[in-house]
């Protein structure tokens, strides 16, 4: 078997350090990429606290919390996969990566359900956002009645200004969770490629760099959600 160390590196150790440092350099640009959205969110969170609380309470807290747990579990599987690759256990690496991928897909599935729910309730920013006969969504009660007239008396009219600021919250919600979900999709593809390589017996204690670097990316996406969850779902 030919050496996995590229000719411009002294040894496997140096190659591994160069690869992880390079990945961290990329992750710094990712922090800045998401950072712009977090900064914009922070400004308007301070500007319109009441409307952001109103909008946040419409999000499904239980689904958000479950999704956080699902993502943490996927990160745990990926951490185990990195250790398995480091120990030279290629089959275990592939199985743990598969666990991480399944949890990642579960996250995306729950997210898709939440998105479709927001579409159904006219909470997608645009011309049909919160029509005049609409009312606030009661996220604690999952079965929101579509019949506006039935509950109209319970929900006082919401001013156009409030609706615009609620729409601003949803713009941040869809931009931030959408960008995060796009990263999840890329991560699932990345982990799948690495899992196939593991099944072919590619990794050893001397060479498991792709597993480690792929893991760094996956954990970073997890960290983004760790901040998104309290900022979007837990405002009260």
């Amino acid at each position: 078997m030919t050496s996995r160390v590229a000719h411009h590196f002294e040894n496997a150790q140096q190659q591994f350090h160069a690869a992880t440092l390079g990945m961290w350099a990329f992750l710094i640009t990712e922090v800045m990429f998401f950072g712009g959205l977090f900064a914009g969110y922070t400004v308007y969170r301070f500007a319109y606290p009441e409307e952001f609380i109103l909008a946040s309470k419409e999000l499904h807290l239980t689904l958000g919390a479950v999704n956080t747990g699902v993502l943490l579990l996927s990160s745990y599987f990926v951490a185990l996969a990195v250790h398995a690759a480091y120990s030279g256990r290629n089959h275990a690496t592939a199985m743990f990566l598969a666990g991480g991928i399944v949890m990642g897909l579960a996250f995306l599935g729950i997210k898709a359900y939440e998105y479709s729910d927001k579409f159904a309730h006219h909470r997608v920013p645009g011309p049909h956002f919160w029509p005049d006969d609409g009312h606030a969504i009661d996220s604690e009660n999952d079965h929101v009645t579509q019949d506006a007239g039935e509950r109209h008396g319970e929900h006082p009219a919401v001013s156009p200004t409030t609706k615009e600021r609620v729409q601003l919250f949803y713009s941040f919600y869809f931009a931030m969770t959408g960008l995060h979900a796009a990263h999840m999709v890329i991560g699932v593809v990345l982990l799948s490629v690495i899992a196939v390589a593991a099944l072919r017996g590619s990794f050893s204690p001397e060479y498991f760099t792709p597993v480690e670097v792929g893991g760094l990316y996956w954990h970073f996406v997890d960290i983004v959600w760790v901040f998104l969850f309290p900022l979007l779902y837990l405002i009260r």
Binding site: A12, Q13, Q15, F16, H17, T20, L21, W24, A25, L27, I28, T29, E30, V31, M32, G35, F38, A39, T42, V43, F46, A47, Y48, P49, I53, L61, A65, T68, G69, L72, L73, S75, Y76, V78, A79, L80, V82, H83, Y86, P160, T161, E164, E206, Y207, F208, T209, E212, G215, L216, H219, F220, D222, I223, V226, F229, P230, L231, L234, I235, R236
Partner: protein, 135 residues
């Protein structure tokens, strides 16, 4: 041997800690004290992120330059947020009311007079802007 990674035992402990912190942050959000609640939520989120970076991302086994890289992005983001909010929070507050449609120019709470910002709003209301475009 290239590098070193976190053991399954340590990963399991960290994962359980992360789940405990998740439960704590959800429960803490139920307490209605918004100013304190957001600080608690952010402190928990930062703790969770630190656990993930140090253990799952193996930074505790990394060399010094990688450790520096692992905090550099977050330090940069902290600078962005601190300077940005230092600006916004020390401005007159009426910029918040500016862009909403269908509202009349606001008066400031302090003086009751029409502020310069509101005058800006009045000047740039849609009718005027259209006239400017025509000219």
């Amino acid at each position: 041997m290239a590098g070193h990674v976190t053991s399954p035992r340590a990963s399991t402990v960290v994962f359980l800690l992360l789940l405990v912190l998740l439960v704590v942050t959800v429960l803490a959000a139920g307490i209605e004290h918004s100013a304190l609640a957001i600080l608690v939520a952010l402190a928990i989120a930062i703790t969770k992120a630190a656990l993930i970076v140090v253990y799952f991302m193996n930074v505790r086994f990394s060399d010094t330059v990688t450790r520096m890289a692992s905090v550099a992005g977050f330090v940069g983001l902290a600078i962005l947020l601190v300077l940005l909010m230092a600006d916004y929070l020390t401005r007159p507050t009426d910029w918040r009311d500016r862009e909403t449609r269908g509202t009349t120019p606001q008066t400031t709470l302090e003086t009751g007079e029409e502020s310069s910002r509101s005058a800006w709003h009045a000047r740039n209301s849609s009718g005027d802007r259209r006239r400017n475009l025509v000219e």
